[in-house]
Symmetry: C2
Subunit: 213 residues, 2 copies
DNA sequence: AGTAGCTGGATACTTAAAGTATCCAGTACT
DNA sequence: AGTACTGGATACTTTAAGTATCCAGCTACT
């Protein structure tokens, strides 16, 4: 299949396909001549995955590349899952520091909360995990807003998060050794989140509606 | 407090404060003269909220303005919650259409799945809700990736989402008639999601680690 | 009263991301 | 031989999110 047909099949403009290839998200086609290459179904699939990661997962092109690179370089399911997870950007940008003292104090308190939570949940995660860092930043931010996220409350959220993760990984077991392992793993790790968020909003909407009715 | 002090207190550059005011995220200070205005604690709080929405919530400036505008214009807790929820961008961009036939078929199937889910959960939400639309788009995208999100599986995610929403709204009850209602509501609706996502990733990391150990 | 240093408001500039578009020389069908 | 298409390189465009500059008015210190 030539690039024009790949474009037609996926709805992605030729110029964009070239862009993705340039950025390392899409492997080049099999060259049949100096100015001609052949594309296959794997390219169609890859483009779908790129679209899903960027539109549904909300990833930037650079982040999607990191995820796809991780996917292409690992073998076992578990390793793939971990790589994707770490390649994913944490949804917390570092906020600029305000008052220095206040800042340090808030950071310490947030770090303590995270440590408590990890202990309470008996989670075995390294302190260097980007998610631990991200959670600390997030709690610091929430603390500054006087939001009520004390450990007791946080634990209840964490327990639900555990259940979701169990559901996610249940699926991972099903495609152990599957040829589309990478794609499925990406879906479970990167696309489950936005889906859950949508469901949470719908559930919220329903409950608010019932309350005021 | 003058603008320079507001900047020092919050760590936000003066130019950025002016920018937020220009974009309608931050009310102007009380003018004391043609070229002088007085800012108060409410401006400090508002800037913190803006930072939280953009860095933690991942909202664009435009989206944050919509949320804050909704907040400023409503009175009751329930109304505020709904307005914020609707003002929040749905984390699903419309993907470009590929094959026309295939597309229509996938869209219909996704819409049916959503309808089934809503019926199964007995959710009372209007079909016009942006979240329903978003969920439909998301499922269409996932379906195209051959991801296994059949209704049975989806329902289990939905049930967990319900529990999370219950936890969220439990907090909303606590600040009924509170003077900081708006801020708290924003936290519950817009910032609970990123927090949950972080917890989900941590839980995933823990479970993968245990499995391979 | 003079002046250095802020201020609001307007406007111009900058940077980065995500594409788009153009150009070019080399095929490939007819 | 001619037309249409290709890969590759490069240039351009658009939008978001700030930053920086300018200006005239004020204000506080001296």
């Amino acid at each position: 299949m030539k690039i024009s047909e790949l474009s037609r099949r996926t709805g992605v403009p030729v110029a964009s396909i070239k862009y993705f290839r340039r950025e390392g998200l899409l492997p080049a086609g099999r060259a049949t001549a100096a100015t001609l290459a052949e594309y296959g179904e794997e390219h169609v699939q890859r483009l779908r995955l790129i679209k899903a990661l960027t539109t549904l997962g909300g990833l930037s092109i650079a982040a999607a590349r990191d995820v796809l690179t991780a996917v292409d370089q690992t073998e076992s399911t578990d390793e793939t899952l971990k790589e994707i997870s770490y390649a994913l950007p944490v949804p917390v940008a570092q906020a600029p520091a305000g008052d220095a003292d206040e800042e340090a104090e808030a950071a310490a308190a947030a770090a303590a909360d995270v440590a408590d939570l990890i202990a309470a949940m008996d989670w075995q995660v390294p302190g260097t995990s980007p998610h631990v860092q991200g959670l600390t930043t997030a709690l610091r931010e929430l603390r500054r807003l006087d939001a009520d996220y004390r450990p007791e409350r946080l634990v209840r959220y964490a327990e639900l998060a555990c259940s979701v993760a169990r559901l996610d990984l249940e699926r991972a077991a099903a495609f152990e050794n599957s040829p589309t392992l990478a794609e499925q793993a990406v879906v479970v790790v990167a696309l489950s989140g936005p889906l859950l968020e949508l469901l949470r909003r719908l559930a919220q909407e329903d409950q608010v509606r019932r309350r005021s009715a």
